[in-house]
Symmetry: C2
Subunit: 360 residues, 2 copies
């Protein structure tokens, strides 16, 4: 049953964590998470940007009814985003539950329908009527495809998707027409960065139709050596082909990163260990820390865990800290507004508490 | 009884620590140690630089006999420095038991006679026939004067010092003629450095006849914000006046440092605490560290202890680490020669073991 009490669920979200956080998926020593999203629109209703309030309300209510009655979606929570403050919306972006676009939208009846594991989530009245997203830890695009396909079909039983035999799914932005699919992997590539080998790889994959983005997708900066790689092309290939191709490209980059790590260990083992342990030392003790510095240090610590140099920390803890240290998440946890200086202090405190649980 | 087995006592010295290390003396939150040394020569024997081997042997043997027979000096150890390797001599310099000049000397029968507490030590055949030194923790110049005076008188019962009614004690270098006394204090002045207030103070005290040197005295660099302040003038003032004046100047600098610390705490408390704890974090975890960086971080940690921000560490531990991380001490402890890179690794290991005794 979706609750109307969105604020209640928001508090829950601050304590909960998504499946991908556990860091247990395949190839998790390089792949943080995999994600697929499908852009879908409903036949005979204008795209959200041109839709009337009544249209948007109609779509929201269809999804609300689905969430009340459908055997799958009954386990989902529905949030009406217009109820939320900008800070709360930013928090949902940081949780990867909604897009920046959805957070910044001005039109009414923007919604977010997500399941308890936070693997599946459907944005309502984003750039398209529906944006279905599925995330899992590690490299699991095929498994995700199975799950998201089921959700897509289930919604398709209730609504008629805007679809043309010739072009496929119709979408607000022409770059999504066709499958409406974007598949992506979030890769941790510190060794390729350190050895200056990444730029060449990124140029090569751009040529064959892949885009590289930051930790929060489109329009965001790369932080902590985390690179989101996704398909650019949605038309002319089947969903399976898109997934197969991204998986192949990902495996090649993973291999390169693993080779770079072996090279680092061969030539700079002491230096590498020093950098990793210093990062651990600073994160354990700092009293003021910016999110940029914290993400850099967490990247080093992550590498230490991935290389089994550091054993007292696991990837789940690093993923959790990485989310919590973001500006809005930090303020939601503190239950008050904090300016940048206050956040730097609060962030350092939170990281210390998470990294040295014994000291608290 | 002095032992002929100098190497045995050297090993002991690597494990032992001088009284000043305990960090318990008066005003130890700013003053690391106080020191007085007296330059003395024996009548009718040329200064060491011009003396014949037989003269030097004669002086050495007089002191050897004193060490065997005198009730005070029987508790001292006598080292014949010509037996030592350059590394071992450098280690004695790092322990503050001999001067750089004594370590680098080429003439025979250079010796060092020191007591068990390592408060008193007499260099034999240094620049002068005898250089008597006394060190205590904190600001204790008057107490030191009492003790060193007693040693000086005791030696004076056996030998006739070169002394002129007009000029006082005669010394190899004219700057020491008169009292032959140099009194000094080792001050930790991080707040004056941080607030850019120290240069002005040092200029002012230079004008009234004081010299500022580094952690190992003449010709050494300032490390870890430790400044050795000593009297330049040895002629025309009594010993008591020299000591009184230095004590007054020291107290003024201490006051300025304490004011600077209060100012730092008032205006930059969070920043200061962050710097202190980061230093602690890095020292606890680094795998490679240079002596310069280690001294800088130890200075921050020392300030944290002095300000009672850090309670799990004390000044004794910091003093001990500060000595042990020096190049020769490190190699004596490791019982092998280490190149610079190996030392940086060994140093980091030693600091970790001392700072996190639980982890070992």
């Amino acid at each position: 049953m979706p609750s109307n009490n969105s604020k209640f669920w928001l508090k829950n979200l601050a304590r909960s964590s998504a499946e991908w956080i556990n860091g247990c998926g395949p190839l998790s020593e390089v792949v943080v998470s995999s994600r697929i999203r499908l852009a879908r629109n409903i036949e005979a209703i204008p795209f959200p940007h041109w839709a009337k309030e009544e249209d948007l309300k109609n779509i929201y209510e269809v999804m609300q009814q689905l969430a009340q009655e459908n055997i799958i979606f009954r386990k989902f929570k529905l949030l009406l985003l217009n109820n939320f403050t900008p800070l709360e919306l930013q928090f949902l972006v940081e949780k990867h539950l909604i897009s920046l676009y959805q957070a910044n939208g001005k039109h009414p009846y923007r919604g977010c329908l997500y399941n308890q594991e936070e693997t599946a989530c459907i944005m309502i009245n984003e750039e398209d009527h529906l944006r279905i997203q599925y995330i899992l830890s590690g490299l699991q695009l095929k498994k995700i495809w199975g799950s998201i396909n089921q959700i897509d079909n289930e919604i398709g039983k209730t609504v008629n998707y805007a679809f043309s035999e010739k072009e496929g799914y119709l979408t607000s932005c022409p770059t999504n027409v066709g499958t409406g699919m974007r598949a992506s992997v979030m890769l941790h590539l510190p060794a390729l960065v350190r050895l200056n080998r990444l730029n060449e790889i990124l140029k090569a994959i751009a040529k064959i139709g892949y885009v590289v983005r930051g930790f929060y997708g489109e329009g965001t900066e790369v932080m902590g050596n985390l690179f989101q790689i996704s398909n650019q092309i949605t038309l002319g290939l089947s969903e399976e082909e898109i997934i197969d191709n991204l998986e192949k490209v990902s495996r090649q980059i993973i291999e390169q990163e693993e080779k770079a790590r072996r090279d680092l260990l061969k030539d700079f083992k002491n230096y590498l260990e020093d950098q990793i342990w210093r990062a651990y030392g600073i994160l354990s003790q700092a009293r003021i820390i910016s999110s940029v510095e914290a993400m850099e240090l967490l990247s080093k610590l992550r590498l230490g865990v991935e290389l089994k140099i550091v054993s007292q920390i696991n990837l789940e803890l690093i993923n959790r800290i990485m989310l919590m240290l973001q500006p809005a998440y930090l303020q939601i946890l503190a239950q008050k507004n904090l300016n940048a200086s206050e956040r730097d202090i609060q962030r350092a405190k939170l990281i210390r508490e998470k990294i040295n649980p014994m000291n608290n």
